[in-house]
Amino acid sequence: MDGPVTDAAPEGPARVEGAPRGAPARDLTGLVEALRRIVGERWVYTSEHELRTYESDGLLQYHVIPAAAVLPGSAEEVQAVVKACADAGVAWVARGAGSGLSGGALPIEDGVLIVVARMKRVLDIDLANQRICVEPGVTNANVSAAVGPGFFYPPDPSSQIVCSIGGNVAENSGGAHCFKYGFTTNYVTGLEVVLPDGEMVQIGGMELDHPGYDLLGAFVGSEGTLGVATKVWLRVVPSPETVKTLVAFFDTTRHAGEAVSQIVQAGVVPGAIEMMDEKAIEASEQMANAGYPVGRGAALLVELDGAERECEARFEEVVGICEACGSDDVRVARDEIERALFWKTRKAAFPAMGRISPNYFVQDGVIPRTKLPEVLERIEALGKEYGMIVANVFHAGDGNLHPLVCYDGRNEGEAERAEELSGKILDACLDAGGSITGEHGVGVDKKKHMPKMFGEPDLDAFQRLRCAFDPAGLANPGKVMPTPRLCGEVPGPYRQHPLEAAGLAERF
């Protein structure tokens, strides 16, 4: 996952799609008092200036002030908070570090925001069994730090220094190394979860393959709509013996794309393969000063890790492929300092955009890797049609594109047009057989695109899952699904749903 830095954040139109609008404000005084009793006075925020901190996640064009933000300090407190919300019939949103890029942690007006940031204890490290158990507020980077140097935790979103494991679980976070190592869902072996009715359950544990439905698989990546995790068991793996990194420059992204295909086809599974196009190289170089040749069409960063001898052999093969595909400039990192510089330059691509454009949208689409040339051509044509610069950064191994649509928010209507262009890029991804999101999630930002990828029966099946976990629809409503839906056959006495009360949804 990549994130814009604050000073280059997009400033699109403020929209509040995730929350009921125009509904009469509810009186939550009783609930707020209950929350204060649970977590203590100082950990419940209700005044606007305190709540401003939480009005957005990493996607700043959406902002909503919740009725209250509560910061529980333990799993038991989370459970009590969720139970209090369930009793009051009040919707809630769980939030980790708030670095997500789809508005998944956007609060709900008249709802409660449950911030797990205080829960950052490492509870258990068992290296004999290659497991670590942490609270959801622990940052991604601290997991690797806790088991290093012998072991590490592979999923590595760009925001890993700040982003929380709880958020990673909700979003099924990826990162630059997931082509080889997989995503969060491949590493979570157990969860302690508070369900939306306040029940606490443990699913999975330290062991793999607990009998019964794979609730872990369902929960990881469910964007906070099935409950809130209060404890997370993760698999960690031995740190690779060696890491070798190169950057190769090409005249065109097509040439670089061909190199990627040949590398993968040759049976090499690089730890990471990242590509930047001409505009991304230009912006990154301005910021990182790595001596990259501004004006070249594409830069390809390839990193191999693993057993020393295998890495050596494969690395030579990769260098050969890059040269055969037209690169006359292959730079091999001589030491850790140079390797860090290569990565710094790659990761600078997003914030660097802020130097060449007042604002930008980060898109997150996926295509089958072989469709890269045609999709890039279409993106370029779209950029011309809209008269806007689109810079491209990709996790090339798995076909995950991050086009950056540059615009100037001071010009009226430009943000809207940029967003439209950004949406058309997703259409191009879907036409190529891809997906509307590879790692940022649907959240509020992409739910309108969901019907392009999934038909009504598919969405209905999604809703069945959601209803099994959250029949009352209190956990992060308004996210993921394109239109608000309610669950039929709610067990127990009928209660009017908050969305129904607001006239925004009907039972079916």
Partner: protein, 369 residues
């Protein structure tokens, strides 16, 4: 591959409340117990198409009725494989659908993960005839809920798996296996743990136990496979194991490992344990005159026991680790251990939502689902 006729048939069964049992190659019918009598077989024979093999993208879309062996042959022709290698049963009859529904896996799980980790999309048919897809055809995708994981390992109790999209991997050009032996389960387990903690990038890492001795096996599949195996042989010797050697012609060794996961007349138990449980697992199997094959770094073990073995005694010895009866599931009272009550309640609600007609193998799954 037309799904509508099948969906119409399922809907009819749903309306009539007629129980059904999805059947592929019929190689694992007794797994997890039989379920209620009178279920009509719902065969996946008509779903036997390899719908896509996207060579450059290392993905494929497979009908549930495709035989795994056929799919692998197709992939191998392009130097690729689906990195799932469970035993294929009688006449290699196991199908993609059956493997996914049971979450079955083989030695390659060590490196590549299980069914849940390699399926990237799925189309299912529910008891009301709904044809629903989730995921997609690309290897990285977080749009929508991951229903494929929910259906993987669901033993056909939520609906019919019609087709799946899978991620493929390069077929290793050459293999080599480091193998060594010991009569001391603790020593084998310690050696396995010590190797598992190294960044070996092995394809497979098994411990097996048969009679009064066991083996530790580490397989490499890469350009430097032979060299890697030889350096592991050195370590095996240092760790006190006997008869350590590297084998380049190693297919038979691994076929045997997979064969130990099945039993025609006896009972096979799958233990969801931890790597450190291995000595206890071997001990429990020996007490029942059984064999063990363990994915030692993962903590997953398969015990093959005689038909009259005392399953309850094994469960007692290993508790609280979950022990599921695969082969011989119909010979025991309860093939499934009970999940914690709260978790089971969620599972029951999932069953209710996905199979409201309750026709998909009622009573055949955990907790009587």
């Amino acid at each position: 591959m037309e799904l509508e006729p099948l969906a119409a048939r399922i809907r009819e069964h749903g309306t009539a409340g007629q129980a059904v049992r999805p059947v592929g190659g019929g190689t694992k019918l007794g797994w997890g117990g039989a379920g209620r009598e009178g279920a009509a077989d719902l065969t996946t024979e008509s779903l036997n198409e390899i719908l896509e093999h996207n060579v450059g993208d290392f993905t494929a879309v497979l009908g549930a009725g495709v035989r795994i062996a056929d799919a692998q042959a197709r992939f191998a022709a392009e130097g690729q494989m689906l990195a799932l290698d469970p035993p294929l049963g009688e006449a290699d009859g196991a199908t993609v659908g059956g493997m996914i529904a049971t979450g079955d896996s083989g030695p390659l799980r060590h490196r590549y993960g299980g069914v849940r980790d390699l399926v990237v999309g799925m189309t299912v048919i529910l008891s009301d005839g709904t044809i629903a897809k989730s995921g997609g055809k690309v290897i990285k995708n977080v749009a929508g809920y991951d229903l494929a994981k929910l259906f993987a390992g669901s033993y056909g109790t939520l609906g019919l798996i019609a087709s799946v999209s899978v991620r493929l991997h390069p077929l290793p050009g050459r293999n080599a296996t480091a193998i060594a032996t010991s009569e001391d389960p603790a020593k084998l387990a310690a050696a396995a743990a010590s190797l598992a903690a190294l960044p070996l990038e092995a394809d497979c890492l098994d411990v097996c136990w048969d009679g009064d001795r066991g083996h530790l096996l580490v397989r490499f599949g890469a350009a430097a496979a032979q060299h890697q195996a030889e350096s592991v042989v050195e370590r095996m010797r240092e760790l006190g194991l006997g008869d350590a050697r590297a084998e380049a012609e190693d297919d038979e060794i691994w076929n045997r490992e997979r064969a130990l996961q099945r039993s025609r007349d006896g009972i096979v138990l799958k233990v969801s344990g931890r790597p450190t449980d291995l000595p206890a697992v071997v001990e429990a199997a020996r007490a029942q005159r059984g064999t063990v094959v363990s994915r030692a770094a993962l903590g997953l073990s398969w015990m093959a026991l005689p038909a009259d073995a005392d399953v309850a005694a094994v469960r007692d010895a290993l508790q609280p680790r979950p022990v599921v009866v695969l082969d011989g599931g119909t010979k025991v009272e309860d093939a499934w251990p009970a999940p914690p009550p709260g978790t089971l309640a969620v599972m029951a609600r999932l069953k209710e939502r996905f199979d409201p007609a309750r026709i998909f193998r009622p009573g055949a799954y955990v907790g009587g689902i």
